[in-house]
């Protein structure tokens, strides 16, 4: 029973139900989604059913026009219509002031928001301090499932409780207080968190991350990405030990925990420390299911204070799980080479070893490739790929 595709795509697209059209509209900036009201009589009311609001002041030269857009949209929408998601990005337009932002965010939060994305990049310190009302409203909102905050400054960590939160992204969020005791309750207060991302965090957590206070872990965590650590912020390994996917920038040694579910691990080394190689082996011994390992800048921060020594026993994951291994910013140092050689010979199910050595001189690269391709391989199906 073969049937031809007799109905043209355009006709099939035009018969899509309203809910699907609204879904596409929800990915557009609200300003544009409003303009679809003149497309046709059928499309006329659709933008009003879109439960996502998306405002970005980037294309507005002055804040007054931007503010007018937001208030007009809120007025045009029926007051009983909930707002499911709000994305608000502002700071570029001139005259942007925190007082209006506080009002807008508070009004939106009262309409049942579940997903909240706030981005105040390009705003200055004074502006961010003026947002304290916004911050309190956000942290009082227990319905949130997705929360993404960029560029905020807190003087005090507010009381919070996010029993439904699944995704949390914090970028350039600063806490100015000395002690932030509330933070060690983070895991209990976001019990079902599945995705955590932090970048450029600035706040003081007791350096003693290994004491009992930070022992709990996010039991539902699937994915974590920790970037641009500073000396004053450490995400305790204990918190993220249930993750399947990890991307971590490391500036100093962390106490090793067992990562029971970890299958994909990307480690970016921002500095060197004593015992780095031993620590790396210890870490791998605690990742029983690791299939995909990426090591970025493993060498490049001064002379290694430690030397690579082959461990007595091959870590379990290298032997029986590792399918893909990548080195990024490989420099061909003695230790790196020996480590790569060790993986090549010990990993019995390895399928790909990728070396990216873009910083290295082309002649040296040929030498490196030759040296590595001569190494014995424990896996018959292993392909060596060089960038």
């Amino acid at each position: 029973m073969s049937s031809q595709r007799s109905i043209p795509t355009l006709d099939r697209i035009s018969t899509l139900p309203d809910s699907v059209i609204c879904h596409i509209l929800s990915f557009l900036p609200t300003k544009q989604s409003v303009t679809t009201t003149i497309i046709s009589k059928r499309w006329n009311p659709l933008w009003l059913s879109v439960l996502t609001l998306d405002f970005d002041d980037q294309k507005f030269s002055d804040f007054a026009t931007f503010r007018h857009l937001i208030y007009s949209v809120m007025l045009a929408r029926h007051t009983t219509l909930p707002i499911q998601s709000l994305r608000l990005k502002c700071g570029i337009s001139s005259g942007c002031n925190p007082y209006d932002i506080n009002r807008i965010v508070r009004a939106a939060l009262q309409r049942g928001i579940v997903n909240l994305i706030l981005d105040f990049s390009y705003t200055d310190f004074d502006f961010q301090i003026g947002l304290s009302t916004t911050i309190s409203s956000v942290f009082n909102c227990r319905n949130l499932v997705v929360l993404k905050l960029t560029c905020l400054t807190f003087t005090v960590v507010p009381q919070f409780n996010f029993p439904l939160l699944k995704t949390l992204h914090l970028d350039s969020v600063s806490f100015l207080g000395d002690q932030n005791e509330e933070f060690y309750k983070f895991v209990e207060l976001c019990p079902i968190l599945e995705e955590l991302q932090t970048t450029n965090m600035q706040f003081w957590v007791s350096n003693d991350c290994d004491n009992g206070k930070y022992n709990k872990c996010f039991s539902n965590l699937v994915r974590a990405k920790i970037c641009n650590l500073t000396w004053s912020w450490n995400v305790p390994f204990a918190w993220i030990c249930n993750a399947k996917f990890l991307h971590i920038e490391l500036s100093k040694e962390q106490k090793v925990h067992t990562f029971h579910n970890l299958t994909h691990f990307e480690l970016i080394f921002k500095s060197v420390w004593q015992r780095k190689w031993n620590w790396l082996v210890e870490l791998l011994e605690h990742c029983p299911k690791l299939q995909n390992l990426t090591l970025n800048q493993l060498y490049g921060h001064g002379i290694d204070k430690d030397n690579w020594k082959e461990p007595k026993n091959v870590p379990g994951c290298i032997f029986s799980q590792l399918r893909k291994c990548s080195f990024i910013a490989y420099e061909g140092s003695e230790c790196e080479f020996r480590f790569a050689e060790y993986i090549l010979k010990s990993a019995k199910v390895l399928r790909t070893m990728t070396i990216n050595a873009s910083l290295v001189d082309i002649n040296l690269k040929h030498q490196m490739l030759r040296d590595l391709s001569l190494c014995p391989r424990g896996s018959a199906t292993c392909k060596l790929s060089f960038d």
Binding site: T9, I13, K31, T35, I38, I39, S40, F245
Partner: protein, 160 residues
């Protein structure tokens, strides 16, 4: 492609037959991600070739490629960018319609975002043409609506 006798349930494959009569194999775990397919499997059993009247041999391989990556957890931003890079508007729409029909949520969400990206900052007429919609407003009705919502029409380009 001959159907293999599957001994272990973990590597079980399902046969799908497109509207134009071609048969493709997918892993059972990928089939689970397409709710329409899973419902048909629940009704017809997993040994029968599942018929997909509204999906054709041009687009099904691309969909299978997407879900192959999904079950190994390897869908990254780079992969998604690469996936749609060389697709023209018509091809994206066809994939989108298929994802909608198959109730394949992850692909549906991704393609919704991609279609929105292609429409962003485009004129109203462009969006009309994209969705094959006839304008049934009179010029007077249209200009009245534009006036009512002047604050949203300010600053957008109308050509294209």
């Amino acid at each position: 492609m001959a159907q293999e006798a599957s001994s272990s349930t973990s590597s079980k494959t399902i046969s799908l037959k497109t509207g134009d009569g071609e048969i493709f194999e997918i892993e059972a775990s990928a089939a689970k991600q397409m709710k329409t397919v899973q419902r048909l499997i629940d009704d017809l059993g997993d040994d029968i070739t599942i018929p997909l009247h509204n999906v054709f041999s041009k687009e099904l391989p691309k969909i299978i490629e997407y879900y192959k990556k999904d079950i190994t957890g390897e869908i990254t931003k780079d992969f998604e960018a690469e996936f749609v890079k060389d697709l023209n508007d018509d091809e994206v729409k066809v994939l989108f319609l298929a994802a909608n029909y198959l109730d394949a949520n992850k692909l549906f969400e991704f393609l919704s975002q991609n279609i929105a990206d292609r429409l962003e900052s485009k004129s109203v007429e462009y969006v009309r043409k994209y969705f094959g919609v006839e304008n049934d407003f009179t010029p007077e009705e249209e200009s009245k609506l534009r006036e009512e919502r002047a604050w949203s029409f300010r600053g957008i380009k109308e050509d294209e």
